[in-house]
């Protein structure tokens, strides 16, 4: 079946420095879409980014991600993190086998420190 792997449970970064949150996936389908959801403390998860185009950079709120089908990855990056970026980040995959169903990774908690 489809799977999404986020290897880091916790990432701690100093304010102003860059960050990359890893996301890799496995699927047998070529028609796929990928998402990053963010959950701030005591809030509901919400969509941050979406992409279904290979090698195309997608940006939102200073974050960006590029789908690389050759390496089965959709890493999330930001060039300069802020304290307010501290949150739980989930990578998710939608494969063509089921349009309605998203498969989520384990989540990465980003902690930005002064």
């Amino acid at each position: 079946g489809d799977s999404v792997t986020q290897t880091e449970g916790l990432v701690t970064v100093t304010e102003g420095l860059p960050v990359m949150l890893n996301c890799t996936y496995q699927t047998a389908y070529s028609d796929v879409a990928f998402f990053w959801y963010v959950q701030y403390l005591n809030e509901a998860p919400k969509l941050l980014l979406r992409s279904s185009t290979d090698n195309k950079r997608t940006e939102h709120q200073g974050f960006h991600a590029t789908l690389h089908k050759s390496s089965s990855s959709f890493h999330l990056q930001k060039s300069s993190v802020q304290l307010s970026d501290s949150a739980l980040y989930y990578c998710a995959l939608r494969a063509s086998s089921s349009f309605s169903k998203l498969v989520f990774g384990q989540g990465t908690s980003l902690s930005v420190v002064p």
Binding site: V4, Q6, G9, A33, F35, Y37, N42, E43, A44, P45, K46, L47, R50, Y90, A92, R94, F99, S100, K101, L102, V103, F104, G105, Q106, G107
Partner: protein, 112 residues
């Protein structure tokens, strides 16, 4: 805009008890979902419903029942609460043909 309301916010149960969680959405979305959130395990799909009266099992459906009473509401029942179980249950909805999920704030379950 719309909102997803989950009740209760906190639920404390006893081992073996049947517990029901409720979710209401006023987006007029067709599809609704129940996910379980555990630290280190991500969000795992329990049940989803593509339209009123439809029910589809997710990867974690064992031990749960669900009911889509009407388009705006989707309930989840823990059929027999497990001792020391602790998790957050998230309800979500999405428009037909759209993958974007809108989540509620969750129900936090603790079983004594």
């Amino acid at each position: 805009g719309g909102i997803i309301t989950q009740t209760p916010k906190f639920l404390i149960g006893q081992e073996g008890q049947k517990l029901t969680l409720k979710c209401q959405q006023n987006f007029n979305h067709d599809t609704m979902y129940w996910y379980r959130q555990d630290s280190g395990k991500g969000l795992r799909l329990i049940y989803y419903s593509i339209t009123e009266n439809d029910l589809q099992k997710g990867d974690l459906s064992e031990g749960y029942d669900a009911s889509r009473e009407k388009k705006s509401s989707f309930s989840l029942t823990v059929t027999s609460a497990q001792k020391n179980e602790m998790a957050v249950f998230l309800c979500a909805s999405s428009p037909k043909g759209n993958e974007r999920l809108f989540f509620g704030h969750g129900t936090k379950l603790s079983v004594l």
